[in-house]
């Protein structure tokens, strides 16, 4: 690191726990030395607020020890207003912050002065930031910093990734030194042996609790990862009911109140916890004391994430990291085995990144205007210096600028009320007061409309946590659900919060948290299919081999040679699963095309859900002729028009519109409820589709929606591979293979005749109940 301290850009790739972060800081500490001059020298950016606070603690200790007089401060959403103001005027030597806080800093006119002496920018966990719009916004911010101090040196710190040059390209469009640390010994990963077999579906790993508790007892500190918050809560509940030795075990996830999370983090640091049940919020390189085991419950949907997570255990650099996989159902056993093979073969998966999204650019233009006037040509050239926007076309930039300034509508209605006006060749805000509103709406994190949950009768006070507004709207008085490991009973709901009381006796309803649907992984699909084809299940546990044999007896096993389609009734609706094994993006696209076709044919589809392996569609009428549905010629006809009117497009639109600044996320402090925002974003979508379908926000929406989908050529490829060979199995009940799909998150509703009919039936039923025919 020190040899390359003078390079304009460098990327350090090292497994977690390898001392990456401290290496990142070493050149700074040396340059500042014992008598540092005034002014901000180094800016450190990380994805988590907690990470910034943690690093500060870790830096201060050695700094004091070395007798160095270097000021280190952090600045995040948690920093007080007074402190933030002081930092703008009298900055420390090292500032630790988040992408959003940096973006906010750059909206102030004093930003150039504050960063005038900046020497280095360190972007930590850059592999994680590169996976979301936060990273795109950050890189635009870094490009801005480069205009303040052209000699600025940019450093990226990353965990193991599959394509280091691509990540270097994200960090900078120019030359970048890539330093790869010794990856260390191979991780020690195995499947956890359990007495009880996993179920066909559901359960979230609770069958393995006795074995898991035994492992916890044998290690210092264990992290038990789950793929969704709901699973973590249910598991935690069940774990405690069997925790006879009273081992101190806590729960940690993003929907819990900040105070509770902090308590858990502090207890971990102090070595007071034997285990923590958690989700991805603990994914990043926080130094969690003596974690010596990672247990992953539920198949790792993404091998890369598993390897990055495993870096967590045994934070000592040269000892192998230790992890155990706990499949939640029998299909996941096969998935875990394939994942293990992939890890041993160092076969990390990943999709290529794609260029920087334009909605982030629209927001960046507005954020720039908040800080003062700008020249369009200069701003465009500046954006080209940001890795993700290195290939930004001038026409796209101009479209975003036009949108930010005038709304970008075909009907030029806002000439008098433009947001940006041109004055002496430079763009500026028409109304300087708009800067406050722009700052309030800053950020790219998706608004999931969370409502605070509090104990009834308590005015204010720390909330228990948050639930999604959609979930809250389905509750009726008396319903119980899990929050932070407690069972609580729903009392009432107001505009912004949910009131509950403790109710330990009852069985809770499952809280439907959205969770993160991990990106697709095509390599795993191919491995699993090959596995199934081999037909030799001898290296599978007996319970899984039995399950596969059972599947082949009641239905069939999927193969690459012909498309297996299963149909069965379930909970009063007709379900059909198409086992394409083509990766989630392709299966999702197929779902959209097939449901459109089904709607046209009067089959009343209601929704679908997809995984890397299959897509399951449910509706009012049974599918009798899948071959007719899958005819490529008719599917192609649907392809262009399906873009028009589906739930996925509207979901993408909602996010894009709020990031780009079409919809305000925060209105004078009061967060708009997502449901109200949903209705208005749907109306906006319909209006634009009708009057201005080529509007830049619609274009960006299509691009965004297509990121989770594939082009029609890929669908044709998949269908060609099967070459018309379709095997349709009609069952009386759900098949072993389809069972896990019932609980899969990410269901897409189909708005059509089927929904209309169900809703009308329900309305009639409600009226009948009160005695009106």
């Amino acid at each position: 690191m020190l040899d390359h301290a003078g390079d304009p850009a460098s990327l350090l790739i090292a497994p977690t726990g390898g001392g990456k972060t401290l290496s990142g800081f070493l050149p700074t500490l040396i340059e500042l030395g014992a008598a540092p001059g005034p002014g901000l020298h180094t800016l450190y950016v990380s994805p988590l607020k907690a990470l910034a606070a943690d690093i500060r603690r870790n830096l201060l200790v050695p700094l004091e020890g070395m007798g160095l007089n270097i000021r280190v401060e952090d600045r995040t959403g948690d920093t007080s207003a007074l402190q933030r103001k002081r930092q703008r005027i009298d900055p420390p030597h090292i500032l630790l912050t988040t992408p959003e806080s940096l973006a906010l800093l750059l909206t102030y006119p004093e930003a150039p002065q504050m960063f005038a002496h900046l020497q280095r920018v360190i972007v930590d966990e850059i592999h994680a930031l590169a996976e979301s719009k936060r990273g795109d916004q950050l890189m635009l911010g870094v490009a801005r910093l480069l205009t303040f101090t052209p000699a600025l040196r940019v450093v990226g710190l990353s965990a193991t990734v599959e394509d280091p040059p691509a990540l270097a390209g994200f960090l900078t469009p120019g030359l970048c030194t890539i330093l790869t640390a010794d990856p260390g010994p191979d991780p020690d990963i195995a499947m956890l042996a359990t007495r009880e077999p996993p179920p066909w579906a559901g359960g979230g790993g609770t069958y393995a609790i006795p074995a898991i508790l035994k492992q916890v007892g044998q290690h210092k500190t264990t992290l038990i990862f789950h793929n969704t918050r709901a699973q973590a809560e249910i598991f935690f509940q069940a774990l405690w009911s069997q925790n006879e030795d009273n081992l101190p075990i806590a729960i940690h996830h993003g929907a819990l109140a900040r105070e509770q999370r902090m308590r858990v983090e502090q207890a971990m640091n102090a070595g007071a916890l034997r285990a923590v049940v958690c989700t991805g919020t603990l994914d990043l390189g926080l130094d969690w004391g003596d974690v010596d085991l990672v247990i992953q419950v539920g198949a790792p949907k993404n091998v890369k994430r598993l390897v990055q997570r495993i870096g967590r255990a045994n934070h000592r650099y040269n000892a192998p990291s230790k992890a155990l996989l706990v499949p939640a159902n029998r299909f996941e056993v096969v998935e875990c085995l394939a994942a293990l093979q992939a890890v041993r073969a160092h076969d990390l998966d990943g999709e290529p990144r794609g260029p920087g999204p334009l909605d982030v650019l629209c927001q960046h233009i507005l954020n720039t205007a908040a800080a003062g006037s700008f020249d369009a040509d200069q701003l465009y050239r500046e954006c080209l210096q940001a890795g993700p926007y290195a290939d930004l076309a001038r026409t796209d930039f101009d479209a975003c600028l036009d949108f930010a300034a005038t709304g970008g509508y075909a009907l030029r209605a806002y000439d008098r009320w433009q947001r940006l006006v041109v004055h002496h060749g430079r763009y500026r805000l028409r109304d300087a007061r708009a800067a406050a509103q722009i700052r309030l709406n800053l950020g790219t994190i998706e608004d999931r409309g969370l409502m605070k949950v509090r104990y009834a009768g308590r005015l204010g006070g720390a909330p228990l946590g948050e639930v999604e507004e959609f979930f809250a709207s389905t509750l009726t008085k008396g319903d119980t659900f899990l929050m932070g490991g407690q069972i609580v009973r729903f009392d009432s709901m107001s505009e912004m919060q949910v009131d509950v009381t403790r109710d330990p006796g009852r069985k809770p309803k499952i809280a439907v948290f959205g969770g993160t649907k991990f990106a697709t992984s095509t390599q795993l699909s191919a491995r699993i299919l090959a596995y199934l084809k081999a037909g030799d299940f001898s290296d599978l546990p007996a319970h899984t081999a039995d399950w596969l044999i059972h599947q082949s007896e009641v239905s069939q096993l999927p193969t690459a040679e012909r498309l297996l389609v299963e149909s069965f009734p379930y909970e009063g609706l007709q379900h059909t699963t198409f086992w394409g094994f083509a990766g989630r993006n392709a299966m999702q696209t197929l779902g959209l095309l097939l449901t459109r076709r089904m709607e046209v044919l009067g089959l009343h589809p209601l929704g679908f859900v997809s995984t890397d392996y299959g897509v399951m569609i449910w509706g009012l009428e049974a599918v009798t002729d899948p071959a007719a549905l899958l005819d490529p010629a008719t599917l192609r006809d649907g392809f262009e028009t399906w873009l028009a009117d589906n739930a996925l497009m509207k979901r993408s639109f909602r996010t894009v519109a709020s990031v780009a600044g079409l919809i305000d996320r925060n209105i004078s402090g009061q967060r708009r409820k997502l449901r109200q925002a949903t209705m208005s974003s749907n109306l906006l979508y319909d209006t634009l589709r009708k009057h201005d379908p080529d509007h830049v926000v619609m274009r960006i929406t299509r691009i965004e929606a297509l990121r989770g989908l594939v082009d029609f050529g890929r669908i044709e490829q998949i269908l060609a591979q099967f070459n018309g060979r379709i095997e349709h199995v009609k069952l009386d009940q759900i098949s072993p293979l389809s069972a896990p799909l019932i609980l899969e998150i990410g269901k897409v509703p189909v708005v059509g005749a089927g929904r209309a009919r169900l809703v009308e039936d329900e309305a009639r039923e409600l009226m009948r109940n009160i005695g009106v025919e």
Partner: protein
Amino acid sequence: MNSYNFTLHGAELRALARGGLWWESEGVLVVADLHLGKALRLARRGGGLLPPWEAVDTLERLDALIRETDPDVVICLGDSFDDVQAADDVEENARLWLLRLMAGRRWLWVEGNHDPGPLSLPGEHHASFSLGPLAFRHIAQATDIAEISGHYHPKASIHAKGASLTRPCFLIDENRVILPALGSLTGGMACHEPIFSELMASDAIAVLTGDKVLPIPMPRHVR
């Protein structure tokens, strides 16, 4: 004509799927909360620039209602314009369209909270209005009976297994009717908000608008 038919103090009324109230025997069409000019008002205040077609969409709906019923009298129950300046600013095409719709009809503008006071358009301007047994005003008064009002932009949801639907709705009981907002971009307030439980009787019906009317028992506030 897709509608939910009911009687309010002797008057036979129809809640139309398109969002207007039709009193056939008197030839009276009632609509509420058009909020014309909302997008422009928000832009003027320095907010986001929303698609400028909301007036077109709202007037299209009003136009369709008028063609469906061919009324002699049209009552606009308040908040027809998003603010007073919007009424003056209303762009030329929208103004002409409105004038065309108004031709040959008696047109009553009832004051709302957004547009109190006379507007610079033809038609009669009233704070409130009575016709036969019925009273028309912008905001419901709890003590009143036989009253037609708007203001609250009510909406209701139906949750069926596997499907749900949310729509602007009429609220109807034996004493009053609250109309849905006809305007685009008006958002909506869910029926289970406390104010509706205070105003509407326990056997009130919510009639969802849309392609068809969908009457359901009004969802109430959980106390």
